[in-house]
Amino acid sequence: MDMQWLFDWAQELYRETGINLTFIYDSFDRNRLARGFLNSVYISLICLAFSIVIGLVGAWLQGSKLVWTRRVVQGYIQFFRNTPPLVQLYFFYFAIGSLLPTVENRFGFQEPMLDNFTWAVISLSFFAGAFNVEIFRSGIEAVPESTVEAAEALGFNRLQIYIYIVMPLAFRVCLPALNNNLVNLVKTTTLAYAIAVPEMLYMANQIWSDSVNVPEMMTFLLVAYVLLVGVLVMGMHRWERAMRLPGFGQ
C-alpha cells in the first residue's frame, strides 16, 4: 500500500502548523512506535495466557485436601490483591532480580539472568493470575453438586464432566469478571515503563525526548490507549451478552 501521501501530509502539517507528527513521516520513529505498540499487545497477550494458566492451576490447588497448599495459594492471592502493582513490579525487578545469579552474555559481560521484559511479564502475570484464581474458583463453585451427580449418573467420566458440564457453565459465569481482568491488565502494562520495558509509553517517551514533540506524542498516546481499551471493552461486552446465561442476572 502506498502511504506516501500520508507522509507528505504529515510533513506539510509540520511546516504549516508546527504540529510535529514524527511517528508518521519519520520511518525510524514510526518503526519504534510500532514496535512499542506491538510490545504492549504482546505483553498483554503473554500475560493473559500465563494469568489464565496460573488461575486454573491455582483454582485447582485451592481445592486440594492439603491445608498448607490451600494456605500458600491463599497467601499468594492476598499478597497480590492488596499491594499496588507498581510495588510488585519493583519488588520483582529490584529485590528478587538482584538476588538471582548473573550470566555471561555473548560479549563476555555479566548480565542479569532475566531481563526487564521477562520480569514485567512475570510480575504482571502473577498480578492478574491472583485475581483469576478467585474468579475461576467462584465459577467452579457456582456449578451445583447435583449437576455433576446427574452427569455421573449419565455415565460421564471425570474429565468429560469437567470439559462438558462444569467448564461451560463456569466459564460463562466467569466471563464478566475475566473481562474486567483483561481490560485492567492492558491498562496495567503501562507500568512496565517504570522498569524500562520498551512498550508504547516508553517508546513515545523516547520519541519526544528526541524530537521535543511532547504534546503531539502525549495526545497520540492517550488516543491510542483509549481506542485500544475502548475496542476491547466493546468487543468484550458483545461477547458477554452473547454468552450470558439465560435467566441468570438481570
Partner: protein
C-alpha cells in the same frame, strides 16, 4: 388428595434444583463492583497488617545480623529518616484527598449530565466518561505532568503549579470518570416507580431529582465511592514515576543515601505498612457500610 403432581415446581414449570449456586451471584456482584470503580479492590484484613509487621521486624533483624556491629540497625535508620518518609506519605494523602475532592465535584455533575434530557449533553458526557475511564491512569498522569504549565499568569498574578498539583489533576481525571459512572449507576438503580410516583404528585423534574432520587442515591453511592478512594490512594504511588516527592520516591532516596542493600526490604515493608495502617480502617468501614446499605428487594 395430594398427588406428586401438586409439587409447586411442576406447576410453575420451574425446578427445585438450583441451576447455579450463590457463588455465581457473588462473582457477578464482584465483577459489577470492580467495573464501577474501574479497578480491583484491595481486600484487607487485620492479618495482612500482622504479616507486614512480621516481615518488617524479621527483615530488620536480618539486616542487623548482616551489617555487623559497625552500622546502625534498621529500625534506627527508619526512625532517623521518619520525618522524610512521613512527609512523603503526607503528600500521598494530600494528593489523594484533593484528587478525590476534585474528581467527586466534577464527576457528580458529569454523572448528572449523563441522565440529561438533552441528547447532545447526554452523549457528550457519556463520551467524556468513557474516554477517561478507558485511559490508563499512568498515561493520564503523564499527560497532565507534561502538558500543564508550571505556572499560570492571570494579569499580574502568578499562580504557581507545582508538580504535585499537576499529579493531583492527573489522578482526578480517572476518578472523575468513575464517579460519573457511580452516580449514573446509582440513579439507574432507583426503581422507575419512584419517578412515576413523584410525577403523579406534581413534582418537577428538578424537584424529583434533588428531593427524591438523589437522597436515596447517596446511600448506594457511598460504598463504591469509598472503594474508589482506596484504589486512588494506592494509585498515588504512581506519582513517583513522574517525580513527585511522595513516599515511594522518598524511600528510594533514603535507600540511595544509606547505600545499604540490606535495608531494601525493611524500608519498603515500612512503606507498605504505612499504606496498610491508612487503608485498613477505610476498608473495614466500607464493608460495614455495604452490609448496612445492602439493597433489599
Amino acid at each position: 388428595m395430594k398427588t406428586p403432581f401438586d409439587h409447586p415446581a411442576l406447576r410453575t414449570g420451574g425446578t427445585d434444583l438450583p441451576v447455579l449456586l450463590p457463588a455465581a451471584q457473588r462473582l457477578q456482584q464482584q465483577a459489577e463492583r470492580d467495573r464501577l470503580v474501574g479497578g480491583f479492590l484491595p481486600r484487607l484484613t487485620a492479618k495482612h497488617g500482622l504479616w507486614l509487621l512480621a516481615i518488617l521486624v524479621l527483615s530488620s533483624g536480618v539486616a542487623a545480623a548482616q551489617s555487623g556491629d559497625a552500622r546502625q540497625p534498621a529500625y534506627e535508620v527508619i526512625f532517623k529518616w521518619l520525618p522524610v518518609l512521613l512527609t512523603g506519605f503526607g503528600f500521598n494523602i494530600l494528593i489523594s484527598f484533593m484528587a478525590m475532592a476534585i474528581g467527586t465535584l466534577v464527576g457528580t455533575s458529569l454523572g448528572l449530565m449523563q441522565i440529561s434530557l438533552l441528547l447532545p449533553v447526554r452523549q457528550g458526557s457519556w463520551l467524556v466518561t468513557q474516554f477517561f475511564r478507558n485511559a490508563p491512569w499512568l498515561v493520564l498522569l503523564f499527560y497532565c505532568m507534561f502538558l500543564l504549565p508550571f505556572e499560570f499568569r492571570l494579569g499580574g498574578l502568578v499562580i504557581p503549579f507545582p508538580d504535585w498539583i499537576k499529579a493531583t489533576i492527573g489522578l482526578a481525571l480517572p476518578v472523575m470518570a468513575n464517579v460519573s459512572e457511580i452516580v449514573r449507576g446509582a440513579i439507574a438503580s432507583i426503581p422507575s416507580g419512584q419517578w412515576e410516583a413523584s410525577e403523579s404528585l406534581a413534582f418537577s423534574r428538578r424537584q424529583t431529582l434533588w428531593q427524591i432520587i438523589l437522597p436515596q442515591c447517596v446511600k448506594r453511592m457511598l460504598p463504591p465511592w469509598m472503594n474508589l478512594y482506596a484504589i486512588l490512594t494506592m494509585a498515588t504511588v504512581l506519582a513517583s514515576i513522574v517525580g513527585v516527592s511522595e513516599m515511594m520516591t522518598q524511600a528510594g532516596r533514603v535507600l540511595a543515601a544509606e547505600d545499604r542493600p540490606d535495608l531494601l526490604i525493611p524500608i519498603y515493608s515500612f512503606v507498605l505498612l504505612c499504606f496498610f495502617v491508612y487503608c485498613y480502617p477505610i476498608a473495614r468501614f466500607t464493608v460495614r457500610l455495604e452490609q448496612r446499605f445492602q439493597v433489599k428487594l
